[in-house]
Every structure is written in C-alpha cells, then in structure tokens.
Symmetry: C2
Subunit: 205 residues, 2 copies
C-alpha cells in the first residue's frame, strides 16, 4: 500500500508528498477517522506544513475526488473478482457480485460514503464518473450475458443494471445508517433484499 521508502520520507522535499497525502487520508478513512479528514490534519500526520498539500491538490475537493476514484477502483476490483470466482456460472455470479458490492460498502463505510458524497452539481463529465460507470458496466455486462442464457428476463439491460445498482446502493447505505437490523451480509433483511431484486430480474420471462 505504502511504497514510499524511508529515504524518500526523510528527504528534504519529502519525495512524494502527493502519494503520502493520499495514503494518509486512506488510512484515516479505513481507521474510522473520516470525520477528522481535514487537509490540515492530513498534512500534520504526513509531517508537513498545512500549506504543502496545495502544491499537489488544487483544493480539498480534489483530494476527496482522488480518494473517491481509488474507492471505485477497489469496488470494481472486488466485483470483478466475485464474478471471476463464479467461473462463468451466471446464476451464481449475479448474487455473488451483489454480495461483494454490499461487503465492500459495509467494510469501508467512510470510503463508500465519500465515493458518493461529492457534490457533482449535475456535472456528469467529472473526473469521478468514468470509474463509477466502470462499476456500473460490470453489472451491465453480466446482465446482458444472463439475458442471453435466459437466466434473466429480456428487457433493456441498462435499465436492469440501474435497478440493480439502486437496490445495492440503497441497501448498503441503509445498512451503514443502522436502519436495517442486523446490518450484515448474510442477515435476513440484506439477503431478502437481494432475493427480491433477483426475482424482479427473473420475473415474467
């Protein structure tokens, strides 16, 4: 994760402050210290003055955008791994990917929230979105293949993918907010929601 050498850390101009800032911030998110994720605190932990990060990020939002990007990469990786583990069995892949999505959110609460908390202001061409769409596309391709194998009802696969994403996103956030109890993958409300989703995709073939 942190491939900065001690040498670089000690260097006068720090070596790779940009990476150090990102790593520090990611660590804070993972440690549940996301509420203290201020530029000044990150600079402090990176052992650098509070103005230094501005040489590498135009502003705080830019750093958060970078973290969000990393989050979407990790989420995409987790979904791809779950799909690969199903070894082409689409009937298994669909629920496996759904559970992988939820697990990612529940295991990375602060990061997951951050990924969706960037006020895009309706600007779709953001830095962030290509990654978000990559995640979306994993589900989309899966549904297209599932339709071809008649595992899933034939209808606009983009719409189905949107429905899947909405269900998983909502389930993840309600769980994180403590509004679904118990809030674990494998628990009834979570599993039931996944079942209702899959039945909705299959229905009326």
């Amino acid at each position: 994760m942190n491939d900065i050498t001690d040498d670089q850390k000690r260097r006068y101009h720090h070596g790779d402050l940009r990476r150090a800032v990102i790593d520090t911030a990611m660590t804070m998110l993972a440690d549940g210290e996301g509420n203290q994720l201020t530029l000044r605190e990150v600079a402090r932990r990176a052992g650098v003055s509070h103005g230094a990060p501005y040489k590498h990020f135009p502003d705080r939002a830019a750093l958060l955008g970078e973290l969000s990007l990393i989050g979407f990469e990790q989420l995409g990786g987790a979904l791809a791994a779950a799909e690969a583990a199903a070894e082409g069995n689409l009937a298994l892949a669909l629920p496996a990917v759904a559970r992988a999505y939820l697990s990612f959110g529940l295991e990375n609460p602060a990061l997951y929230r951050l990924m969706f908390s960037l006020e895009t202001g309706g600007n779709i061409d953001l830095h962030l979105n290509p990654r978000a769409f990559a995640t979306f596309e994993i589900v989309l391709r899966l549904l297209e293949r599932a339709q071809a194998e008649a595992i899933v009802r034939k209808r606009d696969a983009r719409e189905q993918a949107a429905a899947c994403w909405a269900q998983l996103h909502g389930l993840t956030l309600l769980s994180l907010d403590g509004l679904l109890i118990p809030q674990k993958v494998g628990s009834r409300p979570v599993e039931a929601s996944i079942e209702v989703l899959l039945e909705g995709l299959r229905a009326g073939q």
Copy 2:
C-alpha cells in the same frame, strides 16, 4: 410555513427564536443553500447574534436532527397522501407510493440528503428514528394488505418493506447524484427500477 407575527419578530427577546431558526434553516435547504447551512449563517439571517441559537439547541447536530425529523414527517405525509389517493386499490397504491417517495427526494434534495446524513454511530434509539420507522411502516402495512389480496407474494413483509425502502432510497440518491440519466420521475431508468422492484415483489406467487 412561517407563523411568527411581525410583532414577535420585533420583540426584544425575539419571541420564538427556536422556530425562527428552524424556519430559516428549512428555507435555506429549500433554496439550495444547504451548503451554507451553518449555525452562524442561520443566526445572521434570523437577525440574531451567533450565540443565540445555543439557548434553543445544544449544538449544530441538534438543529440538523430537528430538520431531519421535519423531513421524515413531510415524507410520511406525502406517502400517506399517495396511498389515500389510490382509494384502497392496492395494485395502484404500490407504484403510487413509490413515485411519491422518489418525487419527495428529487424535489427536496438537500433535505432528503440531510435526513440520512446524521451520523447515528450505530445508536438506533435516536430522536430521528421513530419518524424514519413511521415512513417504513407505511410501506410495511401496504405490503401486508397487498399480500392478503394476493397482489404481492407471501413472504416476510418486513423483509419486503426493507427491500422496497432500499430500492427507493438508492434510486433517489443515484438520481440526485446525477448517476442516472435522465433523473426524473417518469423517466425510463427510474420507471424501470420501480417495475423491477414490483415484479420482484410479485414474483413466484
């Protein structure tokens, strides 16, 4: 909305600062100025010193909690109205309530986000949650009656309600985030998600 008389506004001790603070904050949310929703700015707009609100709210989170409560009341009202408009026709009531939920979120973006942004820290006994559960229960009762009329598949209605809530919550937030295009009630991705949800509820009777 604002039932403070001019008299009261001019009174030395303001009359009802608590209500004035809440009304000012709600107005800011409705006007898309939620990003400036600071205690100091609200006090400024209410024409009062920045310390004054502390006589009525222990801290900023308490004010936000109050706003969240009002939001859940309004959402509950909107859902109940949609259900009532269906006049007992449960096949119509289900999609009507779903659309009412989405409409509320899309028409009150800042308020809707606020309602779910309070870090409960896993504390379920919060002030907020009775109202959140009241919203949940409208959907729950509806599903129970729909099961009785065989419009919806028989299974644990609490689980079905959780699935509905997750779908609607996710759909609302993805739309607000600009990740579903176009993001209007009645548009294809939104309608399709509702259809998939309803089919999932009906499936396998």
